[in-house]
């Protein structure tokens, strides 16, 4: 059969099949293209196009071997040259892709032969495979950059027939897919911007699958034999970012107090549902990540009051958080936070701002704002969001010890030691950080019962060639 | 119509109203009687006139004769029988074929009674289809015949028109034609000529008379105008407050009225052949439902006895007619002549208002007109020269659309004259009202035709009177109140009227308030635009008398617009006759009415109807109104029976005779002789 999926037309018709474009059409891209390395069922890097990889002793040079006999949709063979082209294109300043922020440490890619190539880094990195696992690092044929956005020629299980991101994008099965011909005949990606409309489409049998539904929507499908639900832990979170460079939040005690008052389980229950995610203590490393550390962060009203008093605010403080309705959870989260913080004498105000222009005019500008991050490996997220001077350091966190530990962790080749370093980083954030990250979200996927072959894994790990609709 | 004929027909009544009482549920939810114990009969071929003041139930009765009840009303008692058949017992089906078939209706306002979205032919064909049984192939032919019968010019062209493309008189004729399409035995006419021009009215009445002679239909003719009724009817029924109070042959009722009300009504009508103001009928008719006992007229009757307000008066037979009065037969004969009010004229020779070569136009050239250099259309009013002395009354007469109101607008400054001079003594009245000084606006005041429209319906009488007092004299609230009460007493209204809204006043009272407001400014000149046309005759006489008295007390000057020559004769010192915005004749009343006439003045005078069965109006050949004044020559050239070629080319000269100025090419003497030749109705105007 044909797999019918809804998607939110996030880029309003400007969806691009170029995997590294800022407006990448990832729902299509994951079916059209393949990565070098993908996430295995255990969350560890596992082979996709690359079958083997190894690092030099200083972790600055990596050598990878490509799978044999992989063909692109146009029939050409996949070789090291294509990989070199793809990786270099990512870092091309002309193209200015946001993915360069991930793979910027690659200084050089050398073709060794058709199947083998080496990657040289500008600084040591022990976890390069994790970076290559990024969902945007998809291999395209050499020289295809100028029209890849329209052709969608990759080596994935499906081939493009018609691109119409606001309407229906039609894909057909790639009979020459390296893992074997897909079970389904094709796929249709249907643009439905409104999330409630997507759910209704699923209920009315117009799509087969909805990737993420809210906790409340789960009830719609729970006792219905026509549907199945899958819940997958992910690294996605919604948080509240307080700027650490502005009084009174420049005092770490105040920051900690602000975060200690939260009853995370209650917040999760109310905002997203009782089993909607995994409690997290204000660090961004998610439960599936090998470097995750568990901390105890139960609600402590008395402790928070004490800290505030020490910091010179015995009568409590008032904070104003700016948010828009880009993410429905934000408002709910702040509403819950208002209620919880009040117990410790913290008055939380919600400053509702227009949703458009939010990222340019509010986020990282107002003293406190709501934020959202998708799943990233520990190293990537810690660097992107908390290193001083980083472009997206939304809390303006500036802690030399933290930055040092980040560098150390990257170049540490021993896994256990590396893990200890990452644990330290997470503890620093719990003690001193400026961001409230109450929990990492589970993704709940609803699908019709006649969909087969879909494993309960996060969406970038789905093996689309196995999926079929009866 | 000769008397014996009428008598014969009484044996077999065609329609019989038998002790008929009709009520409607009023605003308070009470059932009140609009018609009370009405009994009437109409024989085949007979014409019955139904007269009475506004609101006395004439239309209600007329509609009931077609078994039509207005919403909210119901039959309380009695019956109406058509050829012995109770109309209200008929099935809808048979009623439908009766209405518009054997009983036809000609409504008051044909303009509003013709469906505006259908062409004349469609409406005529519909009537033919429903009531004539003719095959559709003959409809057109028959429709043309009908239009010819009502003497409409160019019937084929008329068929293609929409109602709004016809003049009021033509619309009325179409309505007649439509009623004739069903070949009715009985024609009900509800004020078919009210609202029409004097001349048009005379034409329509003449048409109805001839039709009746030709077709021998019975008619019920409803009107408040005794003059019109006198022209048409064999018998007259006078109604008052829902009752028939006098019923008899036209001659008896008009010449020897028996009921005090009928007498008073007849007395209140101004006549061309009488001097001075007619006496007014005091008071107002009772409100519907307020009379439960006694004679409805008792409170206004100068002969009332105690019995009048205690017992209902029975219908009593008198020689030749019936009267509903306790005192019938005991009253002396008419005292008409003795009652005429005559007030001395107090005019001075001091000129107050001066109009010189005044030209007025509504046309405002737009940008496009200026750009294309389009010539402006002929001015609506042109070449008006008038002089009015302090304390005098000048009447402007003319048919509808002749520019009477337009001149008044120019004087009041709403529509400044395009050229010429208008002066109030030394002061310039050429500038628009917005630029005049307060003192000047105070000196010129206006009274309007329709008191309903000239009083702000949302103000109390006090607020209405307060406005000029505050504006001109800056009086405070209390002073205003005193002064306002004073003004009300001036117009004979009690001070408690101060808190009423216009909606709670009768027509005459409203007009009095309007007059009081006008006098609040202590003006020199008052412009009266048809101030009595909207009022009943009885009220009209009272208002005229009031105006005259006020003029004497205050020495004000009136510019008085009217189309009723009898009214003009009663009130004015000077008369100016206007046709198509051009003066035809100006002079003292006595001269204009008895001396030489301009042909148009003569036409107007001939068309006047008198409440006298022997009076016959003489009708000019053509009554079709004109669209624009002619660009050259005499204004009256197109309708003048005496027109000569030079009338089309040259503007006629003014000729004067004893202060009576006439604008005509013909010599005055020639006018006097030529004009008396009888003018006949042209059968069909081509």
């Amino acid at each position: 059969g044909t797999i019918r999926l809804g998607h939110d037309v996030g880029y309003a018709g400007a969806e691009s099949l170029d995997p590294i474009s800022p407006s990448r059409f990832f729902e299509a891209n994951q079916m059209l293209y393949s990565r070098l390395i993908r996430q295995g069922q255990d969350g560890q890097p596992s082979p996709e196009l690359a079958t083997e990889w190894s690092a030099s002793a200083d972790a600055k040079t990596w050598t990878l071997t490509l799978r044999k006999g992989v063909k692109f949709h146009d029939g050409s063979d996949l070789t090291s040259a294509d990989v070199k082209y793809t990786l270099e294109r990512i870092n091309d300043p002309e193209i200015d892709s946001p993915v360069a922020a991930v793979l910027g440490i690659i200084s050089e890619v050398n073709v060794l032969d058709d199947q083998r190539f080496e990657i040289k880094l500008s600084a040591p990195h022990a976890d390069l495979p994790l970076l290559l696992m990024d969902y945007r690092v998809r291999i395209i044929p050499e020289g295809s950059g100028d029209n890849i956005a329209k052709t969608g020629i990759g080596s994935g299980p499906f081939m493009l027939e018609e691109l119409d991101s606001e309407g229906t994008t039609v894909l057909v099965a790639n009979p020459h897919y390296w893992e074997g011909a897909p079970a389904a005949d094709g796929a249709e990606l249907i643009g439905i911007p409104d999330s409630q409309a997507r759910v209704q489409a699923l209920m009315a049998g117009q799509v087969d699958l909805e990737q993420s539904i809210t906790a409340q929507q789960k009830r719609l499908f729970q006792n219905n034999p026509q549907f199945k639900l899958q819940t997958i832990a992910t690294g996605e979170w919604r948080g509240l970012a307080f700027r650490t460079d502005m009084a009174p939040l420049d005092d770490p005690r105040v920051r900690k107090a602000l975060r200690m008052v939260v009853d995370r389980q209650e917040m999760m229950t109310l905002v997203s549902g009782a089993e909607a995610g995994v409690i997290t203590c204000d660090h961004p490393v998610w439960s599936g990540d090998q470097y995750r550390t568990e901390i105890d962060c139960a609600q402590d009203i008395e402790g928070a009051k004490k800290l505030l008093a020490e910091a010179g605010f015995p009568n409590g403080i008032e904070v104003t958080i700016s948010a828009a309705d880009n993410e429905p959870e934000w408002i709910h989260m702040i509403e819950v936070y208002q209620q919880q913080a009040a117990k410790a004498g913290i008055k939380v105000n919600l400053n509702m701002v227009p949703s458009d222009g939010y990222w340019s005019d509010v986020w990282m500008k107002h003293p406190a704002s709501a934020s959202r991050w998708s799943q990233r490996p520990a190293d990537q997220i810690l660097n992107e969001a908390f290193r001083s001077g980083s472009a997206w350091n939304e809390t303006f966190f500036d802690n030399p010890a933290f930055d040092q530990a980040l560098d150390d962790a990257r170049s540490e080749l021993d896994f256990e030691q590396r893990k200890a370093l990452y644990a330290k980083l997470q503890t620093i954030l719990w003690e001193e950080g400026g961001e409230l990250i109450p929990y990492h979200l589970n993704q709940t996927r609803a699908l019709r019962s006649n969909v087969t072959g879909l494993d309960p894994v996060e969406q970038f790990s789905i093996r689309w060639h196995k999926v079929d609709v009866e | 119509m000769s008397e014996p004929q009428t008598m014969n027909m009484k044996m077999t009544p065609m329609i019989e109203v038998d002790n008929f009482t009709l009520g409607y549920t009023n605003a308070e939810g009470r059932l009140v009687s609009v018609l009370r114990n009405v009994s009437l009969q109409v024989a085949p071929g007979e014409a019955l006139g139904l007269v009475g003041e506004s609101g006395c139930g004439k239309s209600t009765l007329a509609l009931a004769m077609m078994a039509f009840l207005r919403s909210g009303s119901q039959v309380q008692n009695g019956a109406i029988r058509f050829h012995g058949q109770d109309l209200f017992a008929l099935k809808p089906q048979s009623l439908q074929s009766l209405r518009g078939g054997r009983i036809g209706l000609i409504p008051q306002n044909a303009g509003q009674s013709l469906t505006p979205t259908l062409k004349i032919d469609a409406q005529l064909y519909e009537a033919l289809k429903l009531h004539s049984g003719l095959p559709s192939s003959q409809w057109r032919q028959h429709a043309i015949e009908l239009l010819q019968q009502v003497r409409l010019p160019a019937p084929e062209a008329m068929l293609e028109r929409y109602p709004h493309q016809l003049s009021g008189g033509q619309q009325q004729r179409v309505a007649v034609a439509m009623a004739l399409a069903g070949e009715p035995e009985l024609l009900i006419l509800d004020e078919p000529t009210t609202g029409l021009d004097v001349t048009t009215q005379a034409h329509i009445l003449e048409l109805l008379r001839t039709l009746r002679q030709e077709l021998g239909m019975a008619m019920v003719f409803v009107s408040h105008d005794l003059g019109a009724v006198a022209r048409i009817s064999d018998r007259i029924a006078v109604m008052y407050a829902g009752e028939v109070i006098e019923l008899g042959s036209s001659r008896d009722v008009l010449l020897e009225p028996a009921h005090p009300y009928t007498r008073a009504l007849l007395n209140a009508i101004p006549r061309l052949d009488a001097e001075g103001l007619p006496p007014s009928l005091p008071g107002y008719p009772p409100k519907v439902g307020s009379i439960t006992q006694g004679c409805a007229f008792a409170s206004r009757c100068s002969h009332a006895q105690p019995i009048c307000s205690e017992q209902n008066a029975p219908m009593m037979a008198l020689a030749g007619h019936q009267v509903r009065c306790h005192l019938s037969g005991h009253l002396e004969q008419t005292e008409a002549a003795s009652n005429v009010v005559s007030l001395p004229v107090q005019s001075t020779d001091e000129p107050l208002l001066l109009l010189e070569q005044v030209q007025i136009s509504y046309h405002r050239p737009g940008l496009i007109d200026a750009w294309l250099q389009r010539p402006a259309p002929v001015a609506t009013v042109d070449g008006v020269d008038l002089q009015l002395n302090r304390g005098e009354t000048l009447a402007l007469v003319g048919e509808s659309g002749s520019g009477k109101s337009t001149i008044m607008r120019a004087i009041s400054g709403i529509l400044p004259a395009r050229s010429g001079q208008i002066r109030l003594k030394q002061d310039d009245l050429n500038q628009p009202v917005e630029q005049r000084s307060k003192a000047l606006t105070r000196r010129v005041q206006m009274i309007f035709q329709n008191p309903d429209a000239s009083l702000n319906p949302r103000h109390t009488v006090f607020e209405i009177l307060q406005q000029p007092l505050r504006l001109y004299f800056g009086l405070n609230h209390d002073a205003c109140r005193d002064k306002a009460a004073e003004l009300l007493s001036l117009v004979r209204l009690a001070p408690h009227y101060l808190d009423r809204m216009p909606g709670q006043l009768s027509g005459g009272e409203k007009q009095r308030v309007a007059i009081a407001r006008c006098f609040a400014g202590e003006p020199d000149l008052i412009l009266c635009d048809e101030v009595t046309s909207a009022l009943d005759v009885s009220v009209q006489a009272a208002v005229l008398k009031l105006l005259k008295e006020l003029q004497q007390q205050r020495g004000v000057t009136y510019l008085f617009i009217a189309h009723d020559l009898a009214v003009v004769k009663a009130i004015a010192d000077q008369v100016a006759v206007l046709y198509q915005g051009r003066l035809c004749q100006v002079g003292p009343v006595s001269e204009v009415f008895t001396g030489h006439h301009h042909p148009y003045t003569r036409t107007l005078m001939n068309a006047v109807l008198e409440p006298d069965p022997d009076h016959q109006p003489v009708i000019a050949g053509d009554d079709s109104p004109e669209q624009h004044p002619p660009a050259r020559g005499c204004a009256y050239q197109r309708r003048c029976p005496l027109a000569e070629p030079r009338c089309k080319e040259q503007l006629p000269p003014w000729q004067a005779h004893q202060g009576n100025r006439i604008r005509c090419h013909l010599e005055l003497d020639a006018l006097a002789t030529l004009i008396d030749r009888p003018q006949l109705i042209k059968a069909v105007n081509a």
Binding site: G13, D194, Q196, A201, S360 | Q96, G100, P107, H164, G182
Partner: protein, 315 residues
């Protein structure tokens, strides 16, 4: 007559020009531009500058307005800043879809509304009228997203008669659109009908009380002939303009219906364009919808001209 039409056209052009200037000024004054909206978190530094340069946003506002205006005069509505496609193509299919929806709703709704309005007027204050009028008030007061949601629940999810949302290619042929259109059309028709019905009802009551209807009765014209031939044309006169305004008004606000049903119409495009700060697109849509409004009015004027001989024929 010709002068009248020319005059109306000149006025329409002036109106449209004013609309463009107004919308341009407001969008220009809005915080943020297409690049900040588009790049979101990436809207920083050279990336932002490049983006702005590529879209001529660095040019003075007047210049851009003039460019856009010249384009419009040459028949091109410009290029969408966000999608980088010619607006003509984008808008054409969307407009077609909305037109299909609106026409469908109008074709069902207007005659039905007129019919029910007439019935209600003739049965004034009797059960039929109370039912119809009450129903229409109720239909008027329910926000369209509630109506839409209920319809979807019943007809798509429970009965599965019609699709809950539209899932066709946005340039699909009309025949493919048709089954999708049923529910949005019913929703739109419901809202529209309620208004028109009430207007027809009160106009009809007035006309039925008029002199010429009374006269027609007194001429013995059968009841239904009076209603259809004598009264209805006059009753339609005051309603036509209001019907046109209603239709235009609803088209401008059909956004919510389109959003709930995922209908690829012009309304959802409009909302997106505002979110995206896609100024030429906002402008173009405003211009088009304003034109529709003006055309609806013009059409109404012409229909009243056809219905009202007073306007059509000089005396």
């Amino acid at each position: 007559m010709l002068k009248l039409i020319l005059q109306r056209l000149a006025m329409a052009l002036f109106t449209l020009l004013t609309v463009c200037v107004l919308v341009f000024s407001i969008t220009e004054a809005l915080p943020g531009d297409v690049c900040t909206a588009y790049l979101g978190r990436d809207a920083q530094g050279t990336r932002l500058e490049n983006c702005r340069q590529a879209r001529n946003l660095d040019q003075p506002a007047l210049q851009r307005f003039a460019d856009w205006g010249t384009g419009v005069l040459q028949g091109s509505l410009g290029t969408s800043l966000k999608r980088d496609k010619p607006i003509n193509d984008l808008v054409a299919t969307r407009m077609r879809n909305t037109a299909v929806l609106a026409l469908g709703a109008a074709v069902i709704g207007i005659p039905l509304a007129i019919f029910l309005g007439v019935i209600a007027a003739l049965r004034r204050d009797r059960p039929a009228d109370v039912l119809i009028s009450g129903g229409s008030i109720f239909a008027m007061t329910i926000p369209e997203f509630v109506t839409a949601t209920v319809l979807v629940l019943i007809f798509s999810i429970q009965l599965q008669w019609f699709p809950a949302v539209t899932t066709v290619r946005h340039n699909a042929p009309v025949s493919e659109l048709l089954p999708n259109i049923v529910l949005p059309m019913i929703t739109l028709a419901l809202v529209m009908m309620a208004h028109i019905l009430r207007m027809v009802r009160s106009a009809m009551i007035d006309v039925m009380a008029s002199d010429f209807v009374q006269m027609a009765r007194l001429k013995g014209v059968p009841f239904w002939r009076i209603v259809c031939l004598h009264a209805l044309p006059s009753a339609m006169l005051p309603t036509i303009n209001i019907i046109a305004l209603t239709v235009a008004w609803l088209l401008g606000g059909a956004v919510i219906i389109e959003q709930v049903f995922n209908y690829p119409g012009i309304g959802t495009l409009m909302i997106r364009a505002i979110y995206d700060r896609d100024l030429p697109l906002v402008q173009a849509i405003a211009l088009i919808l304003a034109t529709v409004y003006v055309l609806c009015n013009l059409l109404a004027d012409l229909s009243s001209l056809a219905l009202n001989p007073r306007l059509r024929t000089a005396r």
